[in-house]
Symmetry: C3
Subunit: 261 residues, 3 copies
């Protein structure tokens, strides 16, 4: 247990992330702290959940994944610690861990209550510094996870938009837009294959028609949209050499239609 990954909506304008790292190193100076992302849209639990799901498995076994996207800070929302076979997760219990833990073997879920491991006085506005960072750091030192609080049975779930099938149509939507402006949809490779079997298909998004899945970003002509399986297994709409978000005037929640036949 020598790595902590950090995922927050704290941005890079302030000292929030730096202070959390100071707190962590004060407790365990040997840790490696890796920034997963700090530019989650403020309080966007779904976006953070999506990023974590597509990231946590790439880290070394034993990594503590620390997530602080916490609109409920200072309220009675629970703070939790989850142990799976390979990882630890520390986060507010607001659904941010849900996508990552689906399909994982959960060994224990602890509600974090033991203030022995908190920075005092605990503020009402910055549990990242006062609760989550020190808990993650003590955990990395090998403290027993039962020491941090009491076992609970479940975590809060997220309402992720799921693609719908209506006759010969599979209807999804854009759930994430990356730095390049690529549109990531909730159509997964498995869902797509299961829907189509071996039928032909047409893809409609933002008034455009796409008739095949490309193998590289450069397969389409410049400024033409293409569909591609992205590196996390989602159907992604990109525009060769340009920003799909702008070219297609698309955004989060823009619908995508797969028509069979």
């Amino acid at each position: 247990m020598s790595v902590i990954s950090l995922l927050t909506d704290f941005g890079d304008k302030d000292n929030f992330v730096g202070v959390m790292k100071g707190v962590i190193l004060k407790i365990n100076p040997r840790l490696k702290i890796i920034d997963l992302c700090h530019n989650v849209k403020p309080q966007d639990i779904l976006q953070a959940a999506f990023l974590l799901k597509n990231s946590f498995k790439y880290f070394p076994k034993g990594t503590v994944h620390l997530v602080v996207v916490d609109p409920g800070v200072g309220t009675k929302r629970r703070k939790i610690l989850v142990k799976t076979k390979d990882y630890y997760f520390v986060a507010p219990d607001n659904g941010v861990l849900d996508l990552s833990l689906q399909g994982e073997n959960i060994e224990k879920i602890i509600e974090i209550t033991n203030d022995k491991y908190f920075l005092k006085p605990v503020s009402n506005t910055f549990h990242g510094r006062d609760v989550f960072a020190p808990v993650a750091a003590y955990l990395s030192l090998g403290k027993r996870i039962d020491d941090f609080g009491k076992r609970i049975k479940g975590i809060k779930h997220l309402n992720l938009p799921v693609p719908k099938r209506v006759k010969n149509i599979l209807l999804g939507e854009v759930i994430y837009i990356d730095h390049f402006g690529n549109l990531i949809t909730n159509i997964t490779k498995d869902g797509f294959k299961d829907f189509l079997k071996d039928s032909n298909f047409k893809i409609y998004i933002a008034g455009r028609l796409i008739t095949k899945i490309s193998h590289s970003y450069q397969e389409a002509k410049k400024n033409k949209p293409l569909a591609i399986w992205n590196s996390f297994g989602n159907l992604e709409i990109s525009v060769a050499g340009a920003c799909a978000k702008e070219c297609l005037s698309a955004d989060l929640k823009t619908p995508i239609k797969i028509i069979k036949g």
Copy 2:
């Protein structure tokens, strides 16, 4: 001494910060380098001073806090190294350390002049790379601080706006706005209590009235402003679920009035 914290206005668009880290690791490969913040507004010494003051104590004892917000680079402004009981500070002598050192036990102040520890040739535009980074790195190796230059007595001070009392009014202002758009004022918890004793109060900011101090960001109704003690002890104006800066059309220097009674 195995941690260096880095606070600059270099942003994240260029190679400036990465190059400083390369220089540091070339001298001391075992160091941990922690980014405190690099998005200080260009040449805004006050903002950097405020961030450092609210951060340095969270780091392990012996940390070297390296600050490069340096509008006077290449001029005759002094370069200084300060040792307190628990920390080292390396910075241009432009007031950026002032808020942090108030109330600290200063053991030594050195004007950095020994070019044995500089990268040569020393440029006139990037002392972060050529002077401050190598000095901090050699310091972390345990070099005696008197080796870096000659002792001096004081550092440059900052003119921080201080709240004023006029009869039954305490008049402050917004001195920092964070990534979420929260308005941090120069009204501190101690100053507030000392002014009010146990009297009632009204808070006015940007034409809005606030009549209590909240305990969490979610205590106000959506889109309503609230006042809260932030995690660094300053009175902060926030808007539940939104950006206070925009909702209140407020900015740096926006006045805040506390009326007693």
Copy 3:
């Protein structure tokens, strides 16, 4: 070999960089990973090449410089590994290493083909994660570089705009604009001296006349443009206390004229 520097156009909005770091640490947990820059303009190979050239020598000997600015990801463009006397470079073969390797003593160039060192399945959209990060990490463990593929003779070159001499005029252009808005031109100190010998000169840029090279940013009056040798040896146009890009309405490719006499 215990440091990897990372230069990408992945920005800081997504999990791409964090995931690459996870992959790297899973293979070599002892590495130090230093961010050189992730805000290269998407797919701007020239900008990345310029940043790398001005950075790589500041790092410890043995550093693996990993560059992922890769518009051709998923196509047949080559992936390469270059060993010089002091450093390793891992990148797509698209010219991004060209400026750095000019004048370096190249010991070996390998086309990376051995998929034993790739993450499987290899995606068509994220070779940073699936190819470049693991190759750099295994390299840092001391694997022989011939194990990664077959030797090749040359790398792709870049068309960098070079200053032109026309009679008594040296004509260059802005090739980079930094976070402060300073205009970095392709006029180098050596080229400038060689052109002028000891003659007088006038500098014209964006309709302004500058008649000397300043020694510090503060040498000009506020809001007046000045010319200065920047810390990497290029002629830079700055405006005292302001943003030169805005003040001069200049941009990339804005011409700069040095007139002799």
